[in-house]
Amino acid sequence: MPKPRTFILVLVSLIVFCARADEFRFPLKPGSVKFAAIGDMGTGEGPQYEVADRMNTERQRFPFDFVIMLGDNIYGGSSPKDFERKFERPYKGLLDASVKFYASLGNHDNPNERFYKPFNMNGSNYYTFKKGNVRFFALDSNYMDARQLAWLQKELQDSGTGDWKICFFHHPLYSSGKTHGSSIELRSLIEPLFIKYGVDAVFSGHDHVYERVKPENGIYYFTEGSSGQLRPDGLAQTSMTDRGFASDRTFMLVEVAGDVLYFETLSRGGAVVDSGELRRPVRASEAAVQNK
């Protein structure tokens, strides 16, 4: 007969094992697209460094290759010292590990950031790039003029229907943030293109909170604007929120494997704020475009 103490220990281990088996796990499939997302981070203050340190730590478990930046990359100035204190130093570990950063511009960013090589913008305010089966579109939501709209339409159209399409830019189309909220005018211009050409997921910042919105017209929307800044109590109670968090700084980890997008949102302390898996929807509009 096992001793009662041993029995309890085995029982507790079993319970913990079963509980952890239910926890979210990245599949870490070979060839999958793994990246992180940060927004409103460029303060140069302690919390930004703490988020960056946590990203570095998590990379041992989840080896992401690149980071998308959702704007407000460098607050308060654009001198060489600003770049050093608000980007190069906090993310040194990631940069040294050859992790690439892809920036979009926020309303606090000097547009000349586009010439800063580590931001991989190639001198353009808006651009596109492809990783595995994902086509990314970085937009400049500060200045959605006719030229950018025409570019977006053409690039979305040319990108076909086989790959995931992920857009990222600063101003959220859907947000329960109390400070800024949804960018309704911008939405009226670009959402119809997203729907028509089958954009699957959108990442934005601007509101200094984390929010995952219930899918709108089949598109998944995330606001990640608390990777440096934070507006505690900055989220209003709205019916569009699927999950919101405004108690600590956060960042996102994302894996796209086949038709599934796995994500985990972590606080700077490593607590899981949100996680899940999203299936790539097949839309009637996309099928129609494909058939043309």
């Binding site: 001198s79 060489p80 800063y116 001198g123 003029d145 709209l149 309704i184 005018e185």
Partner: protein
């Protein structure tokens, strides 16, 4: 999709189509409700404005070609900062006699004022106001021709539907809102080229 969502979606498609069609046309700025003479006046104002912009961009290009090139992105931020400052300095020198109204001439200014009035008094007025309110409107700053846009001051969001009604600008320059003024900014030199004061309504 609910009926409401479908309707919203259809409305958005129609709005986008109208906006793109407006901008796609020569310099017609989509004032559907204005009289033909007013529209012609606006077109003339915008044309004059674009001529002045083109002359400015030619100057910008010729000055830029005299500077050490920043053709490719660099991992040295000081190169970006130096380029921006040198370009601003040379343009300032070349335009030391520049005055407000050199680019936004009287006629151009009237066309812009009319377009803004139409936008804020029309069906997009409410959302345009909301966009500005949401986009960190500046309250106290005043900028003048040949001044640098202050480093670290956020940009107020320019309502995109209004932006689509303004003449399309070359890459070197952009419109900005500063308090109630419309600024024409050289984005590479970060320099104010011209401005229209108090063009936006007091009550945003």
């Amino acid at each position: 999709m609910t009926t409401k969502r479908r309707l919203e979606y259809l409305m958005n498609i129609v709005m986008l189509g109208m906006s793109l069609a407006t901008v796609g046309g020569k310099l017609g700025r989509g004032q559907a409700a204005v009289s033909p003479s007013k529209e012609a006046k606006n077109e003339a104002g915008f044309k004059e404005f674009m001529d002045h912009v083109q002359a400015y961009v030619n100057l910008h290009k010729s000055i830029e070609s005299s500077l050490p090139a920043l053709k490719k992105p660099t991992d040295q931020p000081e190169k970006i900062a130096n380029h921006q400052q040198a370009l601003a300095q040379k343009i300032r020198e070349a335009r030391r006699h520049a005055r407000r109204g050199d680019i936004f001439s009287e006629e151009a200014m009237e066309a812009f004022r009319h377009t803004v009035r139409e936008e804020f008094g029309g069906p997009h007025g409410h959302s345009a106001r909301t966009t500005i309110r949401q986009g960190e409107p500046l309250k106290t700053i005043h900028l003048h021709v040949n001044e640098t846009y202050p480093d670290g001051v956020p940009y107020t969001t320019l309502p995109p539907t209004l932006l689509l009604k303004f003449p399309k600008l070359p890459d070197q320059v952009a419109y900005r809102i500063v308090v109630r003024d419309l600024i024409l900014l050289d984005v590479e030199a970060n320099l104010v080229i011209d401005r229209i004061p108090d063009i936006f309504p007091e009550t945003i």
